[in-house]
């Protein structure tokens, strides 16, 4: 008698991760095809359209690229904290507060020239994100309160704060009494590169490359790695773990807040609202995990993720896959990726039943 067990691999092969990702993708497509057969949807049409509407045609690259920007920055924020083994679960809230800070500057300097305003708003957004992670950072570094809980809770606070601003102090006087914040000044809009792909794509890419490089090459990045490795080792090397915890969470928050600034400067409506973060902060955790917590990997993963979101939405309208099935398909791809990640670390083995059970 044999049975299957999951066993940890002793070694992980180089390049195994992308390969595993592909295997996971194929798995998802196969299971998805079965599902679509059951629901009576045209399998090939669905897949073709998912591809066409995300990466397959130049016309739709913009949506995918633009979507990838906040995903990548949020993923970067999470992975920066992860270099020290910290979990910034609250990137969502930091994105929101970054957008709040940017909106504040927009209200403060409504007549500033576009470029000045854009730079000021982006800086404010980064500062705002850092501010939003300041409490959790101090709580973690000084008294050891888990940053997972605090950052997550502050997300809820940020979203309530936006609702309050919409209904109260920042309510648009031209809004006929409806809740809603006054739009950002017209000149505060990031331009486009081609079609609707906005300059934020370049900015985000630069930020990611910059951080990946800086973390790898700098004294700061090195000290983070040592401090994340063990407290004693850090003490040995003369590194203050507390200061590093504080610093890394603030930087992580700043990057997430920056994403909020980019979103505010590119959103069609020009308005701060609770959807400004659109789940990017949470998705960023997945992006970072898929990128193996390496800042250098988040751009590629975010692009794939953005494509999945955009493509998954498109199959609803045509050929009319029900939104539930569309969501399941997206979930399957992610599930496949997770599974692939698991199987790059573990493998299935057939073992002798007696041994397994004895």
């Amino acid at each position: 008698m044999k049975r299957l067990v999951l066993a940890r691999r002793e070694t992980t092969t180089r390049g195994g991760q992308p390969l595993a990702f592909l295997v996971g993708l194929v798995f998802a497509l196969v299971v998805g095809a079965i599902l679509l057969r059951i629901t009576g949807d045209p399998v090939l049409d669905v897949y073709e359209r998912m591809w066409d509407r995300s990466l397959g045609s130049q016309n739709t690259w913009s949506d995918t690229f633009n979507r990838a920007v906040p995903l990548a920055l949020a993923g970067l924020a999470v992975s920066i904290a992860a270099t020290m083994g910290l979990w910034n679960i609250g990137a969502e809230g930091q994105i929101m507060f970054g957008a709040i800070a940017a909106t504040f500057v927009g209200r403060l300097l409504p007549d500033a020239p576009g470029l000045v305003l854009i730079v000021a708003m982006l800086l404010a957004a980064a500062l705002g994100g850092a501010l939003w992670s300041f409490g959790p950072a101090v709580a973690r570094s000084e008294i050891g309160v888990s940053e997972i809980i605090t950052t997550l809770m502050l997300t809820e606070v940020a979203s309530r704060l936006i609702v309050y601003l919409e209904q109260g102090p920042w309510k648009d006087p031209d809004g006929f009494g409806f809740p809603g914040v006054t739009p950002r000044p017209d000149q505060a809009e990031l331009g486009t590169l081609w079609e609707r792909t906005h300059i934020g794509v370049l900015i985000a890419l630069a930020v990611i490359i910059g951080f990946a490089w800086y973390l790898r090459r700098s004294v700061w990045g090195y000290e983070l790695r040592i401090a994340g490795s063990s407290e004693k080792a850090a003490a040995f090397a003369g590194i203050s773990v507390r200061r590093k915890v504080l610093g890394v969470l603030l930087v992580s928050g700043a990057v997430a807040g920056f994403a909020g600034g980019i979103e505010l400067l590119t959103t069609t409506t020009g308005k701060l609202n609770v959807q400004i973060s659109n789940g990017y902060g949470f998705a960023g955790i997945i992006v970072a995990a898929l990128a193996l917590m390496r800042p250098s990997g988040v751009a590629a993963v975010a692009l794939a993720f953005g494509a999945l979101q955009v493509g998954g939405q498109a199959i609803q309208t045509n050929p009319g896959v029900s939104p539930a099935v569309a969501t399941i398909l997206q979930g399957l791809v992610l599930f496949g990726a997770i599974g692939a990640a698991v199987f790059s670390t573990y493998r299935l083995r057939l073992v002798d039943r007696q041994v397994a059970e004895s």
């Binding site: 979507r67 083994g85 009494g177 949470f282 997945i286 995990a289 955009v310 939405q313 309208t317 997206q330």
Partner: protein, 401 residues
């Protein structure tokens, strides 16, 4: 709701990874964006820009059934269609219009307000040849304005907002307050205690106007009755809506009215042995014993008329605020125990409104504090109705939420 799901998944993932040794990666589901279906909007008041005309479209709508229009129409919905509620009513309208005109229709559900997913959806529709886009949630307004400017050859019609232009971007809504007033007549009679509860979404003019019209109807039937408002600050959240209804029922209410998108309040009333006035569509199936009456939408003829106008090139944006005369708002079925006299009264008032001879807000009307806000004999202008921010006499609660 979905966002919450992603959130939970993401956090679980994080904990899993924390627990597992590092090195394994994984991930999971959360695409943030699929997210958030939940709340939102049906906000709205209609055209602030003066509601003026009914003429825009409705009229020439829809007479020739089974048309062969070459028009393609895209509908963006905030929530899933479901089988009751706001989006359901719109989707019924879409199906009606599709049958009437022969147009091709496209739909997409679960598109959050203010998220880039709306843009993506609309561009996708346009790439598929859409000639007209219907956005059925208030929060789509800003994005629709921008997209209307970008695509001058595509018609944009936005439900419940106040923005428009006079070429390709219009807004549309209906005088649901008229139907609410009629349900108030039935409710005033049905409530033995005179303690009526109202589960309401957001303190905005659209909702306030509905509460006031309903209360005017209630007090006409029972001058001593009161309407107590409980704000939920959500359009769609069955748990919250049910809790709000229960709180009112525990406070002694024996009838629940609502401005919400789920049937939860009705189910709460049913469980408590109380009565219920539903909204959006005739929801009698969800709480057969509690159900009394409903204020309902019939968007079909309007959608058909816009599609016709787009087909012949006459669509020109603007604002549309139709009433019972257009049939866009109606009163649903009445429960069997509504008395013959009240039924007759409702029918009479409905007929008067259809003939444009009567408006529930005809003065004299006092506000909550007893101050006269509409003088005797005056029928307020649409602009006043659209900006209504006070409660009338008989409403208990704050109009500021």
């Amino acid at each position: 709701m979905q966002r919450r799901l992603w959130q939970i998944l993401a956090v679980l993932l994080a904990f899993t990874l924390v627990a597992a040794a590092c090195g394994d990666d994984e991930d999971d589901a959360a695409s943030g964006s699929a997210s958030e279906a939940a709340d939102d909007t049906t906000t709205d008041s209609a055209s602030a820009s003066e509601a003026a005309d009914d003429d825009t479209a409705a009229e020439d709508a829809a007479t020739d059934s089974g048309g062969t229009s070459a028009v393609t129409a895209g509908f963006v919905y905030l929530t899933e269609t479901g089988d009751a509620g706001w989006t359901y009513a719109h989707d019924n309208g879409r199906q009606f219009a599709e049958e009437q005109t022969g147009a091709t229709t496209l739909t997409v559900e679960n598109i959050p307000e203010g998220s880039p997913e709306f843009d993506t959806a609309v561009r996708d529709f346009i790439d598929q040849g859409a000639d007209v886009i219907f956005g059925t949630s208030f929060g789509y307004m800003d994005a629709m304005e921008a997209l209307a400017a970008e695509f001058p050859d595509v018609a944009f019609a936005h439900a419940t907002g106040y923005m428009s232009n006079d070429t390709n971007f219009g807004n549309y809504f209906g005088r649901i307050y008229q139907a609410r007033y009629l349900t108030g007549l039935a409710a005033g009679e049905a409530s033995a205690s005179g303690n009526i509860g109202y589960v309401a979404a957001f303190p905005i003019p659209e909702v306030i106007r509905g509460i006031n019209a309903f209360t005017l109807g209630v007090k006409e039937a029972n001058p001593d009755a009161t309407v107590t408002v409980n704000w939920t600050f959500t359009w769609f959240d069955p748990a919250v809506e049910g809790d709000a209804a229960n709180a009112l029922l525990e406070g002694g209410a024996d009838l629940i009215a609502m401005h919400q998108d789920s049937t939860a309040a009705g189910e709460a009333a049913e469980a408590a042995g109380a009565r219920w006035v539903s909204y959006n569509s005739d929801m009698s199936a969800y709480a057969p014993d509690a159900y009394l009456a409903s204020a309902i939408w019939d968007w079909g003829p309007y959608y058909a008329s816009v599609i016709e106008a787009v087909a012949d090139g006459s669509y020109a944006g603007g604002a549309y605020w139709g009433g019972m005369d257009d049939g866009i708002v109606q009163i649903g079925s009445l429960a069997d125990d509504v008395s013959a006299e009240t039924t007759a009264l409702i029918e009479e008032r409905a007929a008067a409104m259809i003939a444009s001879e009567f408006d529930p807000f005809t003065g004299p009307i006092n506000d909550q504090d007893g101050n006269e806000v509409i003088a005797a004999g005056v029928v307020p202008a649409d602009g006043d109705l659209l900006g209504m921010a006070y409660f009338v006499e008989g409403v208990i609660g704050s109009a500021e939420g």
